[in-house]
Each structure stands twice: as structure tokens, then as C-alpha cells.
Symmetry: C2
Subunit: 458 residues, 2 copies
């Protein structure tokens, strides 16, 4: 079976493939907001129907949260497990969007055509590149190139609470030779990358309560404990002036960057000025003494992702609020232990609480960092296949994000994962005006066809 | 003209007086939110009509914001200027109210009957005590007891932007012998108070912008400047560990408490445990080394009244936001200069800005502290009249709130102001479930009748 007619078919079918993606993007499958539960079901149903149209035995599988979509197709050669997620981030602040986030459309821009919609890049556009590669293969050769299991999750953007139990309950069904995950970036628009390490993620929400009701600062200002002051005081001390996280024990398990990897990263020629300049910044803001790529790939972080308390509307209200809260996340590397850091963070907050305050914590997920087994022969084969498709050779790169699924596949299914994706840093995932380049989509589909071809020849 | 039949009339008319107040409370005149502009007009119209029913020549007077209500009635004896405000605070978080904040009602509670509605205590219930005293006086004696000018403002809860220009433009019309202001508390439920000093207020809103869009903390966490971190770092340093405000020059003009006043306040027997215990607190949280009454009456403060940035909805979103903002207010005492402190605060924030951040400030009002001329004979006369009405003698007290109108009356109209009111610390003004005791309302109306009687005899 040759890949060339498959690539031609992909080229000629591009308009129809884009229409299918737009249809999926029009379903507002925001997993974190219960108001969109029915839309998550709808997106899962859409994928089941689409997989069935390819001859895949596919079903929607219930979980305590949003359903999984699981599909199987038989074939010779390696058995692949492909993973993507059909849920998307919330869209607020919606007023900053140039258009309805779910009125998906193709738009011309100075940088080329883009697909505009929430989820276009993260992750519906990416997962559809694999499905479209399969569709073209089937159209040309009458069948998919090898045995494939499809797994689409609907809770990736809300901490994947059902994923580990589902993998455990269905470990034998989901077994394969290697996993393919499509939820990562190109290194740049000419250079595809295979991600070899990912940061872990710990999400914590803290709520500090002082007085048992909102108070007037005229009557109580000066004598009553103000929880916003307490919260800013504690979080204002989360980093020292050198940018180091102050939670005790935080750096346990953070490895030095091995010299060979440091050399390899150096050779990538990462342009920090351009990377930061694209979002209106000019100076790396991480820990003193580390390179920009280390800051985003190999150093752990603590970030405040949300904070709210008191009166935040128009005008002014001299209130001393009863409560203030913040969402804090930690990106983890090496062997940092998310649960130990959670305990240490909570203890660190509690120790700083002044009298008359209580604190409540909510857990928003905890996953360790992961490192891929690049010695697996699939890595070299895929790297060569990618280098055939793109202008410049593919690279092994780090990743700043957290895709705990790779760790779960290893721990629960015993599978090595290969993370390949076509997103770009300017896709504005998790932000207003998310987009996905049509070129990413098109070359992504072609890349998967080449990778499938390469893996079936191993 | 005797006051006794007026007091009897007040007692017999109480049910009707409460009905009138409930009608005014049902108008949601929130001045800070443009959605309620028409309701502010409606409240002003309601007061004009009510004053006219007493034979007062009253009109709604336009301003660039919400209208003033001005009324005049002629008479012998002293010329009084009475001030109150018909606008109310916003009601959020509305889900913490036990009822619709504008479905005004009388309710039985273990502490006695209360009037439940936004504005019941601040300030519609209070201003109506004066109008009802006038109504009873007119019903019994056919006319009001002396010459009175009424001034009702509709922007007190949003920084009174139109007040100073209006006073300046209408200074001759608003001239009087002494001003009466009804927007303050009883010392406790047995002891009325005349306020002899009030704190000033400076309101500032700061917005810090980092990247030019919201970013994903997976891609950018560690390298991109996070404005929430910048904001918490700056605001977390607003006070030192002893509770002293760190803005340079902040304490210039803060006087020591004179020993005679310290002795007088000591004699008031203020019960800080009860005051704090009523709102779920136990320990005074102000500057080290000061008494509880000093913390709320004679010491300046800096408080964060609102903070918001990033994702604050359900679940979690690993966003690095473009912006974060906070509302900060300062209560001022002595001769602290609000404009100098504003400049110093803004400079202090700017100095701490790291690279790649900008800050924008919005001005939410600036008024100095004020001290009343207790040597004016009206003070002794009113104190005696109040002592006749209440179980225990009236006291001269400080006030932690900011009623800049007293300073404006002095500076622009040359008038001394007497601040008397019937609110209570547990009225939850500016909070959910605001109430006003029926006893406060009833004895407040009676108190004004006695004060009017005493002042006309001066």
C-alpha cells in the first residue's frame, strides 16, 4: 500500500475535511461548565457517527462525567492507540472574541487561511487530522492501514477525573503497541516536533474566609480582618525576587538539565524575542539563571490563574468581603511529587493564616511530569516521516504543557506514547480568538498518513 | 408650639410612615450601575412629590449624573439645611440575600421588628425619619417648626461626583445656619451619638496589564509575566507585619489622639469583643498599639475592596491572563491630604512594576477627614434633646465612615454640620440582608421632633 495516492486524496478532499471539522467545532462542548453537558454528549455522538462511517466499531462509553468515545478497527501490522479530546475550554471573557466562539469559520489572514473557533486548535482540529488521514487511507486502499484503537476523552479541559478509572476498568480492551497523542505544537511553522518530555500539573483553589458576612469599610475598616489582604499577602510571597517558588520542598525531584539535552535545545535556535514579542512581551520572566526554553520546558512553575474577592463591578463599593479566593497551578518536572507538593502548599498557606481566618482548599487535579521512551523504534520512524513532509527536519522537543495521559498510558496500559501535533504558539488556545492554521490542518493530515505508512513498515 | 402632641402624632402615624418608607425602598436606585438610572430618577421624583405634600417647594435638579432634590420651606427661628441620600449600594452577591433586596418588608426577629431592604438603613430609612418628623409637626401645628432647606443626593454611594459643583453653583440658595446630616449610627441601641469626627476616603482602582492577550500556562508558564502575580506581590506589601501602610508619606498629617478625647472614648465602654463577635471575628486586626475605637475612628487605613483577574468560574482554567485589577480604598484622618496620598500610592505602585507590565489607575473619589465644631450651641441643645428620648444620655463619638458632605458644607457653604443617625452596626449596610430596626425608625422620627423643638428654642 503506497502513501502517495493517500496524500493526493487528502489534497483533493481538503474542502470537505474542513467542512466536517467546522461541523464538530459548532458544538460548544465546554466540559468544565455543567450548562454544556448536553453539548459534550452531542460532540461524542458526532465522533461515534464519524468513526462508524470509516468502518470503525465505535461507541459512546458512559463515565461519571462526560462520555468517552472508543472505537476499534482490525488490521495487520502494529496496533496503535490514538488519543484526542473533544471537550474545549470555556470562552470567557467572551466580549474579547471577534466573533461567536462556536460560529466556526475559515478566514483569510496575512499569515494564511485559518480555522476560527474555540477548540479549532485544542483539540478538535488536531484530532480530526488523524481521522481524516484514516478516511483518505480507507478511500484509497479500502481499509485502514493497520489495527487502530481510538480513544476520545471529553474531560481533558476539566482535569480528566474519569480517565484513570476508565483506563483501569478497560485496560485489556485499550491495550496496543504504541500510543499516538495529537495535542501538541509544531516547533515552528517549518519544523514539526515530537515531544519527549512534558510538565506535570497540580491545580489548587484556595478560599479564605474572614468575617462571616460582607462588611462596610467605614464601620469596620481597620479593625476587621480583610480576606483579600490575607490572600494577596500569602500569594504575594509565593515567589522570591529571583522567581523561586517558596513552598517548602517544592524543588525536590527537579533535575538539572542533562548536558546533551541542553546542547540539543541550544541547537534548536529558539527565538525568545519573537516568542514573547508575539504576545506583547519582551523579557523572560522566569527564575533567574535559566534559559527561555528551560523556563517553559524543564523548570517547574507556580502561577495564579484566577483571583476574585469583594466588589469587582463598575464603580466602587467600600466593602470588606467575607471571602476571597484564587486558583493556583503548579507545572511540575522530573520526579516532583504532585501530592507531596499539594500537602506542602496547603500547610504553607495554613501557617500564614492570621487569627480569625479559615481556609478551604479545592483539588483541581494532580499529575506528575512525564518523559517519553525515545528509544522505541516508532520515534525514529515517525521523525523520518515528518521530515519528509515538512520544510525542515523534525526535532525532539520538550513541552511546557501537561498531558498526563502519556503517564497514565505508561502506568496503566504499559504503553509508550508519541506526542505529535500541528498547533502553533499563536493559536490562542485557552484565550479569546482561538484559531488553527489551515496549513497545520492540511499538513497535519498528510503527516499522519506518512506516519501511519512508516509505522506499518516497521 | 409644644413637641408632646407631635410625639403622639408620630406614634399613631407609625404604620403609615412605615408604608411610605417601604414604597421608597421598592425603587432600586443603585447609583453606581447605569442600568438603574431610571430608578434613581424615580426615587428623586418620589421625594419631590412627598416634600410637596408637606407644603415644601421642591424640585428635581439636574446634574451630569443623578439629580439632586432641593426643597425649601419658610418659617421663623433657625434656618436648617437637612441632607440625606436616596441612592443605594449595589446588591451583589444577590444570592446571599434571604429575599429580593427591593421587595421591602417588615419582619419580626428575635431582636424586634426590622425593615428589610437595600437602603433601609443607608440611607432611605434615615432620611425619612426627618421627613416624618416634619410631617407630624405640620399635621399638629399646621406648619413646619422653622425655615428648612432639604437637599437629597443621588450619588453618595458612587463618590458624589456632582455634589461639589452643585454646592458651588447653588451656594447662596443652599445657605443656612446649621446643617443636619442623617447617615450615621447610634453608639448602641440605648445610646444615641452625635458624630464629631469622620474619616476621609480615597478610592483607587488599579489595573495591571502584562501580555497583550490571555495565555495558556502550559505554553507560557514560567516565561511570561503574569499580572495577577504582579498585583498580589504589590498589594501583599501594602502593609507591614505591624499593620502599617507602606505607601511613602501616608502618615503625614495623622494626629495623635488628644488625651481628653482618649479619656472620653475610654469612658464609652466600647465592647470590641461584642462588636467583632457579631460578625464572626474575635481579634482587632488593625495597627499594633492602638485601641479598637482608635482603629475604627482615628487611625487611617488601606483596604482592598475588590480584586479580580483570570478565570474565576467553576472548575479550573490554566490561563495566564492579560490583566488583573483591584479596587483599593484609604480611610483618612486628621489633615492627611487625599491627593498627595493618591500621587504617592500611584508612584509606589509604578516603582514596583516589573518589565513588560503597564498599570492604569482610575479615580473613585478623594475627600479629606472632617472634624465638627462641637462648640456650636446646636450641639449641646441636640445632645440634651436626644438624651430626653433615649434610655441613656447621648454621646459625642467618632465615626469610621466617610461623609465628605460635612467638609463640603463647611468649605463651600460655611456651614457647621451636625451628624445624627439611628443606624446600628448590625444593619449590614453595603452587605446582603440590609435591615433597619423599626425601633430605630420610630425613635429616630421622635428624636428629630425633639431636636427641631430644641433648635427652634435656641
Amino acid at each position: 500500500m503506497s502513501v502517495d495516492p493517500v496524500l493526493s486524496r487528502i489534497d483533493s478532499d481538503l474542502p470537505e475535511a474542513l467542512e466536517r471539522l467546522l461541523a464538530l467545532l459548532r458544538i460548544p462542548s465546554i466540559s468544565t461548565d455543567p450548562a454544556y453537558d448536553a453539548d459534550c454528549e452531542k460532540a461524542a455522538d458526532w465522533l461515534v457517527d464519524d468513526l462508524r462511517s470509516l468502518g470503525v466499531e465505535a461507541d459512546k462509553r458512559p463515565t461519571p462525567g462526560h462520555p468517552m468515545v472508543v472505537g476499534h478497527v482490525d488490521g495487520d501490522g502494529p496496533h496503535l492507540l490514538f488519543y484526542g479530546h473533544y471537550d474545549v475550554q470555556p470562552v470567557d471573557p467572551v466580549e474579547l472574541w471577534d466573533h461567536d466562539p462556536f460560529d466556526a469559520q475559515i478566514a483569510d489572514t496575512p499569515g494564511g487561511q485559518v480555522i476560527r473557533a474555540r477548540g479549532s486548535s485544542d483539540d478538535k482540529g488536531q484530532l480530526m487530522t488523524f481521522i481524516e488521514a484514516c478516511r483518505a487511507w480507507k478511500a484509497v486502499h479500502g481499509a485502514l492501514p493497520c489495527r487502530i484503537t481510538f480513544l476520545f476523552e471529553g474531560e481533558e479541559e476539566s482535569g480528566s477525573p474519569s480517565l484513570v478509572p476508565f483506563l483501569k476498568d478497560n485496560a485489556s480492551e485499550l491495550g496496543a503497541d504504541v500510543a499516538l497523542i495529537c495535542d501538541t505544537d509544531l516547533f515552528d511553522s517549518r519544523v514539526p516536533s515530537i515531544i519527549t518530555q512534558l510538565r506535570g500539573l497540580l491545580g489548587e483553589e484556595i478560599t479564605i474566609t474572614g468575617p462571616d458576612r460582607d462588611l462596610h469599610s467605614g464601620s469596620y475598616g481597620g479593625i476587621a480582618r480583610n480576606p483579600i489582604r490575607v490572600l494577596t499577602k500569602i500569594l504575594g510571597g509565593l515567589h522570591d525576587d529571583a522567581g523561586r517558588v517558596q513552598v517548602p520542598g517544592f524543588y525536590e525531584g527537579v533535575p538539572d538539565l542533562p548536558p546533551d539535552m541542553a546542547a540539543q535545545w541550544q541547537a534548536l535556535g529558539f527565538d525568545a524575542d519573537r516568542f514573547l514579542g508575539a504576545v506583547g512581551l519582551s523579557q523572560p520572566a522566569g527564575e533567574d539563571g535559566y534559559t527561555p526554553l528551560e523556563m517553559i520546558w524543564s523548570r517547574p512553575t507556580a502561577e495564579i490563574n484566577g483571583i476574585v474577592g469583594g466588589y469587582t463591578g463598575d464603580g466602587f463599593k467600600t466593602v470588606l468581603p467575607s471571602r476571597a479566593s484564587a486558583k493556583v497551578s503548579f507545572r511540575l518536572v522530573g520526579t516532583q511529587d504532585p501530592l507531596a507538593i499539594r500537602d506542602s502548599f496547603r500547610a504553607w498557606v495554613r501557617e500564614q493564616l492570621p487569627p480569625d481566618c479559615t481556609v478551604a482548599f479545592a483539588d483541581h487535579g494532580a499529575s506528575p511530569a512525564s518523559r517519553m521512551e525515545t528509544g522505541h523504534p516508532a520515534f525514529a520512524a515517525a521523525r523520518a516521516a515528518l521530515s519528509d513532509e515538512w520544510p525542515d527536519p523534525a526535532v525532539f522537543a520538550g513541552g511546557g504543557g501537561s498531558i498526563p495521559i502519556a503517564g497514565y498510558f505508561k502506568d496503566i496500559l504499559g504503553l509508550d506514547s508519541m506526542l505529535v501535533g500541528w498547533a502553533k504558539a499563536d493559536d490562542q488556545i485557552h484565550s479569546p480568538n482561538e484559531k488553527y492554521d489551515v496549513a497545520s490542518f492540511h499538513k497535519g493530515v498528510r503527516s499522519w498518513a506518512r506516519i501511519l505508512d512508516a509505522l506499518t513498515r516497521l
